[in-house]
């Protein structure tokens, strides 16, 4: 997968990745996965509430 990063975001991520001794791609994927799991959690919560309402 190829991820496009605008220059300012790349700078920000590169600094954060270096501080964590990670490569830029490792750090970017870790952020994507965090976001994905958070979104799935939200989806699951919404689905749970919808079922309760039924």
């Amino acid at each position: 997968m190829t991820i496009y990063l605008p220059a300012d975001l790349k700078e920000e991520l590169a600094g954060r990745a270096a501080a964590r001794r990670m490569s830029l791609s490792e750090y970017a994927v870790s952020l994507i996965l965090k976001g994905l799991y958070a979104e799935k959690d939200e989806e699951a919560k919404k689905n749970g509430k919808a079922k309760e309402a039924d």
Binding site: M1, T2, I3, Y4, L5, P6, A7, L9, K10, E12, L13, A14, G15, R16, A18, A19, L24, S25, E26, A28, V29, L31, I32, K34, G35, L36, A38, E39
Partner: protein
């Protein structure tokens, strides 16, 4: 003739391996939101960075700045190690001060790794020497993660500003 750039802003592309199942999941979620996979991924990254920043601000209230932590931990070090860290910090602060005096144009060029002036070259040499001291002396002798984290972060920031490879 080369095709025109889709994204006019000069950014960068990062290649990363993800399992096909995960990619399909990205496609599904992006489609459900009426976005392309690229837009969706960009949104996830930007949101995650914002959340990290927000949680860092909550986790580190201003009452406990890194300098205070460093001063606290320094007291617990052996005298020789303490002396090493104090000397190292003095050199680091000196380099930070010299960097702060550079003009924005010089800084921009320095960040890209280009040689602009003898002053930039001198600061870069100092930072490279600091990095060697950090790797060879500080890291080996001062085995306190809190101290190493604080010093390492500041050194990394300097290296980034001067285009010194990590």
């Amino acid at each position: 003739m080369a095709r025109p750039r889709k994204l006019t802003e000069r950014g960068t592309t990062v290649s990363a391996y993800v399992p096909l199942s995960l990619y399909s999941e990205f496609q599904r979620l992006a489609r459900s939101k009426g976005l392309t996979v690229s837009e969706y991924i960009y949104r996830l990254i930007a949101e995650a960075v914002q959340k990290e920043k927000a949680s860092a601000a909550v986790a580190d209230p201003p009452a406990d700045p890194p300098e205070a932590v460093l001063q606290g931990v320094l007291k617990t070090l052996e005298p020789l190690d303490r002396e090493r860290v104090v000397l190292f910090m003095k050199r680091l602060e000196e380099a930070e001060g010299r960097l702060a005096k550079l003009s924005p144009d010089e800084l921009k060029l320095a960040r890209s790794g280009r040689l602009t002036s003898s002053e930039v070259d001198n600061i870069r040499k100092t930072v490279i020497s600091l990095r060697q001291t950090y790797e060879r002396t500080i890291k080996r002798n001062v085995r306190v993660p809190d101290v190493l984290d604080i010093i390492g972060e500041r050194l990394l920031e300097l290296m980034k500003e001067l285009g010194v490879p990590v």
